[in-house]
């Protein structure tokens, strides 16, 4: 058991898979010599050499196209899009190409690749370098979407993503890179499409993703002191979505709160709310409450960014308000 930072866990997960499978290669801007702008690929060039760890031009379409073409023809590439905001300049490759080609060709083509990307706010980078864009990807049939919230999950879900035969968008939360956690020694394996109950409780279910998971856990701790026992679920994987774990939890608690860093409209929590409203309506003991960033771009000033992204205080307040309403 080792204490790793989240960013070290990214490199650990990639190294684990590259050591296991010669077909795994890594490309991206500044990921080789520099070890990544977020230092998530430190040491990989030294360990695996320039044939497998490759610095690319600032050409996001070329990067993802290369990953896709290589995946179609026998490799299992990992590509990095430095900031998830940059998906906007290569979204065609993601949405029209990677996601659809298997379907359009009636299964002739298999595209086993991972696109890893620094996602999320809290670093005062402003509106073009802080977005949480999992929802963009979730809206596209054919893409798998994961967001780990702790170092152990980073390693395990990276392994699961690399071993998946479908395109996986792997969102690393920039605000968590410095966080630490235990990672077991030896190979770490995990599965896509499985949520984790981080804390048990019988009064309310709180579903959270990425950086919102530690905040939800802290909020749950405070709410417990006031007598509200929350079950905190780390959603982890938006596609495939572990709706069952959430439905079962709501079956026990009768309440669902989602904590979402993304802007309000059509966030993943809206889909969860729809599922729970549809399939667990008679279990509900109160309205489903979504705690999200409002529908605004992210401001850069620390005071403003902290205002809009759900905080521990806001989670506590929203849960208390709803439970007493």
């Amino acid at each position: 058991m080792a204490q790793l930072t989240y960013r070290e866990a990214v490199a650990r997960g990639i190294a684990q898979e590259m050591s296991r499978d010669e077909r795994v290669v890594l490309i991206g801007e500044d990921i080789a010599g520099a070890g990544g702008v977020f230092k998530t690929t430190v040491g990989l060039l030294e360990q695996f050499g320039p044939r497998r760890v490759i610095d690319t031009p600032i050409s996001e379409q070329a990067i993802l196209g290369a990953a896709m073409g290589a995946a179609m023809t026998g490799l299992r590439p990992i590509a990095e899009i430095m900031f998830s905001d940059f998906f906007a300049v290569c979204w065609d490759i993601v949405v029209n190409q990677m996601a659809k080609t298997r379907y359009m060709t009636n299964g002739q083509v298999t595209i086993p690749l991972v696109v890893k990307s620094g996602n999320g706010g809290g670093l005062r980078f402003g509106a073009q370098h802080s977005q949480s864009i999992e929802n963009w990807a979730m809206a596209v049939p054919g893409l798998k979407v994961v967001t780990p919230s702790c170092p152990e999950d980073v390693v395990g879900l990276m392994a699961a993503a690399v071993r998946s035969d479908d395109p996986v968008l792997f969102f690393e939360h920039k605000g968590l890179y410095a966080s630490r956690g235990e990672v077991p020694d030896g190979p770490v394996e995990d599965v896509l499409g499985k949520a984790r109950i981080r804390r048990g409780g019988d009064h309310a279910t709180v579903a959270a993703l990425g950086m919102m998971v530690p905040r939800a856990l802290e909020a749950a701790e405070r709410l417990a002191a006031g007598g509200i026992r929350c079950e905190v679920i780390d959603v982890r994987s938006l596609i495939p979505l572990d709706a069952r774990t959430i439905l079962e939890s709501v079956g026990r608690t009768g309440r669902l709160f989602t904590v979402e860093e993304n802007p309000r409209a059509l966030g993943w929590g809206a889909e969860l709310a729809s599922i729970v409203g549809d399939e667990a309506f008679w279990d509900l003991d109160g309205p489903i409450v979504r705690i999200t960033t409002p529908h605004v771009p992210l401001p850069s000033a620390d005071s403003l960014e902290d205002l809009v992204i759900p905080s521990v205080d806001r989670i506590v307040a929203e849960v208390e308000r709803a439970m007493q309403a």
Partner: protein, 440 residues
């Protein structure tokens, strides 16, 4: 706050007018939201009309005994702001499951809401409150908040039908929560408080009594019983029930399987789905099947109808039955829900009875009773011809029919068809229940 106009409610698509039979609140007296304000009767249904909001009954515009068209303003309510109890779906479901009357529970939640704990506490004490007969205006007003909140905001009067057309005095309700623990029957006052008293009959009870008696007087009723092996049905139900419940929020009982088999078999036995009019010298064969489902409610037995049930799948029937039963019980069913029946099923077994002899829902020519499913030893012929004894889930189906029209052999042939379908089920069953979905 301006006055709210109370209008003669539309009690069904085919109902054009209604008669004010009794005002339950005097002019000037306070009224509470969702509490009965008056009783209305039509040719199809008798019902109470609830106040859409709290306040004071300012004026009565239509006196008792007067018949007016639907939409006519019959009273004005004004005054204080409304107070409403909005119980959560979970509370309402738990109340249904435990047979708890939400109008009677202690309400410890915010804004007067009942909580899950309130319902559980009420269920533990298992005191089933007596239902106030509708003909006793002196009794305390009944509060039935369920399924009303949204409607009442519109300001229109809320109909609460107390439909009639009731064939069967046996407690024959639909168990839509499986496994159903038998719950107390509430159609009659319970507990020791009624001993040594004389009470007036409720309107509902009076109608039931009248219908039952007339049905027996006017036709020649005979009951034929057959035994069916429900092994296949039970197996499919077990496989499908969790998925079905999670997908539709409805528990899956054996009843919809029997209903499906019964309805399908009608196609080949038209005389079972017919109406005799001896005076006119005619037999009427309806174009489709209007499947009446006997439902046990707090106020007594009612028979809502699934229209055009002839080609519904097991899954669809299960959902229809559950929803109709829920509507019948929470009072949101309308007169249309009770119209158009051509054949009736009663789930005699839901309270444990092995079989009974149901009474015809006149003028229908037959009613089918489903007895309790019990595991019992049956003699089987083994593959090599040996006699074997095995334990199978078995049930009795009892068909009461109008012997003026239907012969005993007709009835037996029909029951044999139903039995055949239940014992060798169709491959469409799993599919309609969502357990063999393609490429899911």
């Amino acid at each position: 706050m301006s006055d709210i106009e109370i209008t003669m409610p539309q009690l069904g698509e085919t109902v054009a007018e209604g008669t004010v039979t009794r005002w339950l609140v005097e002019v000037g007296a306070p009224v509470t939201a969702n509490e009965p304000l008056l009783e209305v009767s039509t040719d199809k249904v008798d019902t109470e009309v609830d106040a859409p909001a709290g306040g004071v009954l300012r004026r009565i515009l239509v006196p008792e005994g007067r018949t007016v068209p639907v939409g006519t303003i019959i009273a004005l309510v004004g005054g204080t702001a409304a107070t409403r109890h909005q119980d959560s779906p979970r509370v309402r479901r738990l109340a249904r499951e435990h047979g708890v009357d939400l109008t009677q529970v202690t309400r410890s939640g915010p804004h007067g809401r009942a909580t899950v704990a309130d319902v559980r506490a009420a269920a533990r004490t298992s005191v089933r409150p007596a239902v106030r007969p509708a003909v006793q205006p002196a009794a305390p007003p009944e509060v039935r908040p369920e399924a009303r909140a949204a409607q009442s905001q519109a300001g229109a009067a809320i109909p609460r039908p107390a439909p009639v057309a009731i064939p069967n005095p046996a407690p024959a309700a639909i168990s839509h929560q499986a496994p159903a623990a038998p719950r107390p029957v509430a159609a009659h006052p319970a507990g020791s408080g009624t001993r040594g008293r004389v009470e007036g009959l409720s309107r509902r009870r009076r109608l039931i009594a009248d219908r039952m008696h007339r049905s027996l007087q006017e036709s020649a009723q005979l009951t034929t019983v057959i035994e069916v092996d429900l092994s296949h049905v039970v197996k499919i139900r077990e496989a499908a029930k969790d998925t079905f419940r999670s997908r539709y929020g409805v528990a899956l009982s054996v009843l919809p399987f029997v209903a499906e088999a019964a309805v399908r078999a009608l196609a080949g036995h038209p005389v079972i789905n017919a109406e005799l009019d001896l005076a006119a010298g005619t037999v009427t064969y309806p174009a489709g099947v209007g499947l009446g489902i006997a439902v046990d409610t707090d106020e007594g037995l009612v028979v809502p109808v699934i229209r055009d049930a002839g080609d519904l799948t097991v899954g669809a029937l299960a959902r229809h039955i559950a929803h109709l039963a829920a509507r019948a019980r929470d009072g949101s069913a309308t007169a249309d829900d009770f119209a158009g029946g051509t054949f009736t099923i009663t789930n005699t077994g839901s309270r444990g009875a092995l079989f009974d002899t149901p009474i015809l829902n006149a003028p229908q020519s037959a009613v089918l009773g489903l007895g309790a499913v019990t595991r019992r030893p049956v003699a089987l012929r083994g593959p090599d011809g040996d006699d074997l004894i095995a334990v199978h889930p078995m049930a009795y189906l009892s068909l009461t029919y109008d012997h003026r029209l239907v012969d005993g052999a007709d009835a037996a042939r029909y029951l044999t068809s139903v039995k055949g379908r239940l014992e060798a089920p169709d491959h469409t069953w799993p599919h309609s229940l969502g357990i063999a979905e393609i490429a899911s």
